[in-house]
């Protein structure tokens, strides 16, 4: 079972497909769960503390906006942990504010820098493209080792 980072990092479809083919998805939701269930991080609606932008310095320079660094404090460790990656290009729902857009670019850049198996697919816009999308992802996940990695 490989740890597969997905992009968009909170995608239902990608998370489901990775789990369906026997691997562990590295997705934003699990990390958010850890954050919101930690005692002391309970100031609605914020779930990021002042510590996160500092942790984000490992992944982005100090002049990068705090929003990007805060997000990278969560996304960065996921990239470090990843053993494989699936990136969906031009996903319409990955469109967001500038902080998100820059974080998304940095996330994709850092994933591509890692020497791990990476699958890049285009966002499907028709039924035929959907079939190709699922086929490529399924074949990629099947090609990954199913043995437990430490």
């Amino acid at each position: 079972m490989a740890k597969v980072i997905i992009y968009p990092i909170n995608s239902l479809i990608l998370s489901d497909l990775v789990e369906r083919f026997g691997h562990k998805p590295l997705a934003m939701m699990e990390k958010i769960k850890e954050k919101v269930n930690t005692v002391g991080v309970d100031s609605p609606p914020l779930n990021i503390t002042a510590e996160e932008p500092k942790m984000g310095l490992k992944y982005a320079a100090v002049e990068v906006p705090a929003g990007v660094r805060g997000r990278m404090a969560i996304v960065g460790p996921m990239i470090d942990e990843a053993e494989a990656a699936i990136i969906v290009n031009e996903a319409s729902m990955a469109f967001g504010c500038m902080g998100c857009a820059r974080t998304n670019e940095l996330t994709k850049y850092l994933i591509r820098q890692k020497e791990i198996p990476i699958l890049e697919v285009e966002y499907p816009r028709s039924e035929e493209e959907g079939k190709e999308f699922v086929y490529k992802i399924a074949e990629f996940l099947r090609s990954l080792s199913t043995e437990e990695r430490s």
Binding site: L12, I13, S15, P45, M93, E128, G130, V134, A138
Partner: protein, 143 residues
């Protein structure tokens, strides 16, 4: 944290012609006592210890494997930071993203059916992006 202490929430999205959210909810009510569920317009949210939730989710998936989709959720149902009853109405943060993906699920379900039947995908010709040189020509021709 062991699996018994680790309380998680999973979103089960149903995009099936044969299974309704109420069917899934009834299945959960039958199977586990340590689990709480919330029915929603797109399916159910299942909360409980990780092992119990994983077991129930596997049972739900088995009802219509290629048309039921699951992902973990960070916040528990009713969490004041997300629940719209406390926030004064409106969609909760994250709902728009989920709705966008839910619209794609029939297509993904069909694709999974085709993959199971070993139907290779047809070759697709995507429209190529226009070259900068050509774009410049078009702009100049309109001046």
């Amino acid at each position: 944290m062991n699996n018994e202490e680790d309380v998680i929430t999973k979103i089960v999205v149903i995009s099936s012609d044969s299974v309704l959210p109420i069917d899934a909810a009834m299945k959960v009510y039958e199977s586990e006592t340590s689990i709480t569920i919330k029915e929603t317009c797109f399916g159910t949210m299942v909360t409980g210890p990780r092992t119990a939730v994983d077991r129930v989710v596997d049972e739900l998936r088995a009802m219509d494997r290629n048309h039921i989709f699951v992902k973990e959720r960070g916040f528990h149902p009713g969490d004041e930071r997300r629940c719209r009853s406390v926030r004064g109405g409106g969609p909760r943060p994250g709902f728009h993203y989920l709705r966008e993906e839910v619209q794609m699920l029939p297509m993904i379900g069909k694709a999974l059916d085709a993959y199971d039947k070993h139907v290779p995908p047809a070759e697709i010709h995507r429209a190529e992006k226009i070259e900068v040189k050509k774009l410049k020509e078009i702009i100049e021709s309109n001046l």
